[in-house]
């Protein structure tokens, strides 16, 4: 008589420990609930949220925003040749005005750097040592993000979420999808989702409520030896920012020097090669 009681007490304290309001790890496959079928008249929600539906809600909501600002704090795990793991921090403030304005302020202790995209060109500016470079951009944010990554080696954290259809890049080659439960992330009630692809396990925490914003992303890259991770915390969402007219346009400060990208676009190079 006592043992089942003890067991169920343990079960519930575990649930309490994890802080999940909903059932634990309710995956597509039937949850391992056979352990306690009779024990609990558990206050389970009437319907179990479907992970893809929650993700899609977020994607639709992000797409509906005409403009926004968000702060991204990313921690990237690095594995040294000695197998020591280190964690590197990066802070970026991203401002978007659809369909063709983007600005990113990368903050650091030596002046940071800024990326401007005004629909025609993009500019990277580094206040210390006061240099900048510009190049032709693509007509949309999506294409420009791809251009930056492909041609210039400039990665934008959370690029997946800035796309016109964030869902599309997030759900390629999925092997599993899980609605983990609900949990508090930095004071915000969130849905916790987990996905697997052959190369990566990733999780996302999406605000529960009328504004289904992503609050945290985590990725484990299984394709790299040691499976390093990164986590991005998304905070300070501003969904009605007032951008000054020239907010997305770079105006060179006094004495700023224009330099080149080492790896210029091939087209630009060939014109220069012709002597």
């Amino acid at each position: 008589m006592k043992i089942p009681l003890l067991l169920s007490a343990m079960f519930f304290s575990t649930v309490a420990l994890f802080g999940y309001a909903g059932p634990l790890a309710a995956t597509e496959q039937p949850a391992a609930s056979n352990a306690q079928p009779a024990a609990a008249d558990s206050p389970a929600p009437a319907t179990q949220p479907e992970p893809m539906a929650v993700l899609k809600q977020m994607a639709t909501y992000l797409r509906s925003l005409e403009r926004f600002k968000v702060r991204v704090e990313k921690t990237t795990e690095l594995i040294l040749p000695t197998d020591q793991r280190l964690h590197q921090d990066q802070t970026v403030e991203i401002a978007i005005q659809k369909p063709d304005r983007l600005r990113a302020d990368f903050q650091n202790l030596s002046g940071g750097r800024q990326l401007f995209y005004d629909g025609k060109t993009f500019t990277l500016y580094t206040p210390e040592p006061n240099v900048y470079a510009s190049a032709a951009a693509a007509p949309t944010i999506d294409e420009t993000l791809a251009l930056l990554e492909d041609q210039y080696g400039i990665s934008m954290p959370i690029a997946d979420l800035l796309l016109a259809d964030p869902q599309s890049s997030l759900v390629q080659n999925l092997e599993s999808k899980t609605y983990v439960g609900q949990i508090l992330v930095r004071g915000v009630a969130c849905h916790h989702l987990a996905f697997q692809t052959p190369e990566a396990d990733w999780e996302i925490w999406i605000e529960d409520g009328p504004k289904p914003l992503p609050r945290r992303l985590l990725l484990t890259d299984k394709s790299v030896e040691g499976s390093p991770q990164w986590t991005s915390e998304l905070s300070d969402w501003d969904l009605a920012p007032q951008f000054p007219t020239d907010f997305f346009t770079f105006t060179p400060p006094q004495d700023a020097q224009k330099i080149k990208f080492l790896e210029a676009v091939p087209a630009a190079q060939s014109t220069k090669t012709a002597k």
């Binding site: 280190l86 202790l109 240099v131 294409e143 990665s155 890049s169 484990t220 040691g226 990208f261 080492l262």
Partner: protein, 163 residues
């Protein structure tokens, strides 16, 4: 001036001037090339984004890029036992006891085409033909962006410069 081949050759010839903490290399790796592709014997970092990057990117392009860059970096390491080539701009060194030492310039006879991430301390800026040079004890550098980071390429003195 540059074909992409010569750019790569230059990268391959890169000689580090700076003896610094291994961490410096680490950081630049993530910042500029953080789209996965560990496994070349260096620092391993996860890909930068869940979808691997931009919406329109296909896997092949991505892979090719990584191969090129990593190959060059391997060459760098072979040339340079001190292994530190890039210094990340997002980080200041020497806090928390993690860093291994301050950067020390070694500055003699640097090959034209070498790319470094930090200049020696004795540099002056001159502008010739609209190009901004750093003259560091008679060695001339031109800044440019490698990914999001500013690096310096060793060049010949501007024409008309009298040693």
């Amino acid at each position: 001036m540059h074909s992409s081949l010569s750019t790569y050759l230059k990268r391959a010839m890169t000689v580090a001037l700076i003896v610094g903490p291994m961490l410096a290399l680490v950081s630049a790796d993530v910042d500029a090339r953080g789209r996965g592709g560990g496994g070349h014997g260096g620092v391993r970092a996860p890909r930068a984004n869940i979808g691997g990057g931009g919406h329109h990117m296909n896997a092949n392009r991505n892979v090719n890029r990584n191969v090129n860059r990593d190959m060059n970096r391997n060459v760098n390491r072979n040339v340079n036992v001190n292994r530190n080539v890039n210094v990340d701009v997002d980080r200041r060194w020497g806090y928390g006891g993690v860093g291994v030492g301050a950067a020390v310039a070694v500055g003699t006879a640097v090959a034209v085409g070498a790319i470094v991430s930090t200049l020696p301390s004795n540099c002056t800026t001159i502008v010739a033909d609209g190009v901004s040079y750093r003259n560091c004890g008679g060695t001339f550098y031109v800044p440019s962006y490698d990914g999001p980071n500013v690096v310096y390429e060793v060049v010949n003195p501007p024409s008309g410069w009298n040693q």
